[in-house]
């Protein structure tokens, strides 16, 4: 247990030292960033995390459940802080917290969708709980806790991932992506026309539940890349852009995943180029720019009728 705690705090301090090295370094530093192992780990983990987030996010947007992603982003913070305060690996808290709350939200709501006011009330409290664990961790008697850990959970520390953490992130993200692709067809049916799907024998409720579990796991993954506060953007922006660009669901799914990965690469490259720019901000900026660009494109009548009628 102590070793895990040490590794968690070491990763937090590693990210801090990387950030300070990146910010203090002059332009001579920027060329060598590309060759650093932390950059390779970030690129590897970031690619697969973005892939999973793009796939899951597309369904999240189609099902109009983005607010659930918002709620999970707060749960991710509280889960990570609770694990740190209790002396466990931060990722354990992330995944357990997100999946548990995803199941709870599915259980509270009818047809696997919870009421927005109930979701809002619940995560408002969960966030308060997070601030409690943050205080508990930073003021713990052992003196191991540092204020930087809270910031790195909230806003991500992708450059702080070591090889082992990157590998776990890649494997989990791959599992999520495969699971989404496996249930993609029935889930799409259940999303677009729930009643007909249920009549045809599609297990609508189970699919909704399974999907929320995938959202929970993705939220835990994305927290490691861009932080719990910003993971909503990684889920919503590429998917929102894909929904605006194409009517065809499977094209949209592929487009959302592709955009998410491309935006992650662009963001990482940007923050390697400009050391003052944190990677989380660069990824969000790229994602937002692409999404904003889709608004410039004139909309076709056919696609708006599909989304408004089904949404």
């Amino acid at each position: 247990m102590n070793a895990l705690l040490a590794s968690a705090s070491a990763s937090a301090s590693a990210s801090a030292s990387v950030a300070s090295a990146a910010t203090s370094g002059a332009s001579g530093m920027t060329t060598s960033v590309w060759a650093q192992p932390f950059f390779h780990h970030a690129l590897l983990a970031g690619t697969f995390i973005a892939l999973a987030a793009g796939l899951v996010g597309y369904f999240l947007v189609l099902r109009a459940q983005v607010f659930t992603g918002d709620a999970l982003s707060h749960v991710a913070f509280t889960g990570a802080m609770a694990a740190l305060a209790g002396g466990y690996d931060l990722r354990l808290g992330l995944f357990v917290g997100c999946v548990l709350v995803a199941l709870l939200l599915a259980g509270v709501g009818r047809r696997g969708k919870a009421d927005d006011v109930v979701i809002g009330s619940a995560f408002a409290w969960v966030l308060g709980l997070g601030s409690f664990f943050l205080t508990l961790y930073t003021t713990s008697a052992s003196g191991l806790g540092d204020g930087g850990a809270g910031t790195s959970v909230l806003f991500g520390s992708i450059f702080g991932l070591d090889g082992g953490q990157a590998l776990v992130a890649v494997l989990v993200a791959l599992a999520v992506a495969v699971a989404v692709l496996l249930i993609a067809r029935p889930l799409l049916f259940a999303t677009l026309d729930e009643n007909v799907a249920a009549a045809r024998g599609v297990p609508v409720k189970a699919l909704g539940l399974g999907f929320l579990v995938l959202v929970g796991v993705t939220a835990g993954e994305a927290t490691q890349a861009v932080g719990s506060l910003l993971l909503l953007g990684l889920l919503a922006a590429p998917a929102g852009a894909a929904v605006r660009l194409t009517d065809r669901p499977f094209h949209g799914l592929a487009l959302a995943a592709g955009l998410a990965v491309g935006e992650m690469w662009a963001g990482l490259a940007l923050s390697a180029w400009i050391p003052q720019c944190p990677p989380s901000f660069a990824v969000m900026a790229a994602a937002t720019a692409v999404y904003a660009a889709t608004w410039l494109r004139p909309r076709r009548a056919s696609r708006s009728s599909l989304v408004v009628a089904r949404g």
Partner: protein, 302 residues
């Protein structure tokens, strides 16, 4: 903060707290913020605009971070950013079905991007030792008398505006189609309400921090609307609950080393759960009474 101990003489406890000027200011600011956030939040819950409300409430963070970075007044940063974001959300909603998939994607993107901007501003401004945590989770220490005055003035303005548009807003929230048919300017009211929501958020964020404003907005209103369906009564109840949990939270945070936001959200969430429990019990009792009137049904249920 660990030195004062809660005795069971509550009068003495309050006198002790009142002897600290910072606590007096905290209680004053807390009262103002709770009343304004409660009243605006009540309409937010009624209109089911929780996602837009949450997005506006986190915008306080980049506003404050930019104000810190650029060196202008914090209040200006809070109010400027929140009201600008309210107008942006209103523009994105234009001509779209509320709650649709497209709107929620847009709202989510706006929210994440603005939070990322806040993080960038904090990263560029390296002077703040404790990082963004006090902006995010709030601090009730060191509220000045001048801040309380600003809060009070802004609060009165928001409440007056809300009172002025309250009746048509209620109509437009409950039944937008009929209201529009009767000539109520539904769209204009919706924009005006979002601006008020932004202003109330900017108020409350100065005390509770950007991440916990939303709790003050949603929890008292959600609790009151579970307890009663009558608009006037539940609005009053919302304000009363918000006020009570904020003051109780301040007392608890004075005596315990844990953050104010934790206490306020926990008290409010406990009330929310109690309200839901009470409603469930009342419904079950009603059902049993209805069933005992019809013995055939009791037999079939057993």
């Amino acid at each position: 903060m660990g030195s004062p101990v809660l005795s069971w003489n509550l009068l003495d406890d309050f006198q002790l707290m009142w002897s600290y000027p910072f606590m007096v200011n905290a209680f004053r600011a807390g009262a103002i913020v709770a009343v304004v956030a409660g009243a605006v939040g009540w309409f937010m819950v009624l209109r089911r605009q929780t996602f837009a409300g949450h997005t506006l409430s986190v915008v306080a963070f980049p506003g404050a971070a930019l104000a810190t970075l650029a060196g202008f007044s914090l209040s200006l940063g809070y109010f400027g950013f929140c009201i600008a974001a309210a107008l942006a959300v209103a523009a994105l909603r234009r001509g779209r079905e509320p709650g649709g998939s497209e709107e929620s994607a847009a709202t989510g993107t706006v929210q994440a991007f603005l939070l990322a901007c806040g993080y960038l501003f904090m990263a560029l401004y390296k002077g703040l030792l404790e990082g963004p945590q006090s902006l995010l989770f709030g601090s009730f220490l060191g509220i000045t008398g001048g801040q309380v005055t600003v809060l009070a003035v802004a609060g009165v303005v928001v409440l007056a505006a809300l009172a002025a548009i309250g009746r048509p807003l209620l109509f437009a929230s409950v039944d937008p189609q009929v209201a529009a048919a009767r000539g109520v300017p539904v769209r204009l009211l919706s924009v005006a309400f979002l601006v008020l929501l932004g202003a109330a958020t900017a108020e409350a964020a100065q005390i509770t921090g950007a991440l916990l404003v939303f709790a003050l907005m949603v929890l008292p209103a959600a609790t009151a609307q579970v307890l009663t369906a009558r608009p006037g009564l539940s609005l009053l109840l919302t304000v009363a609950i918000g006020f009570a949990v904020t003051w109780a939270g301040l007392v608890a945070a004075f005596y315990q080393p844990y953050p104010l936001g934790f206490f306020v959200t926990s008290f409010a969430f406990a009330l929310f759960l109690l309200a839901h429990g009470a409603r469930a019990v009342a419904r079950a009792r009603e059902r049993r009474r209805a069933e005992s009137g019809r013995p055939v049904l009791v037999g079939s249920a057993a």
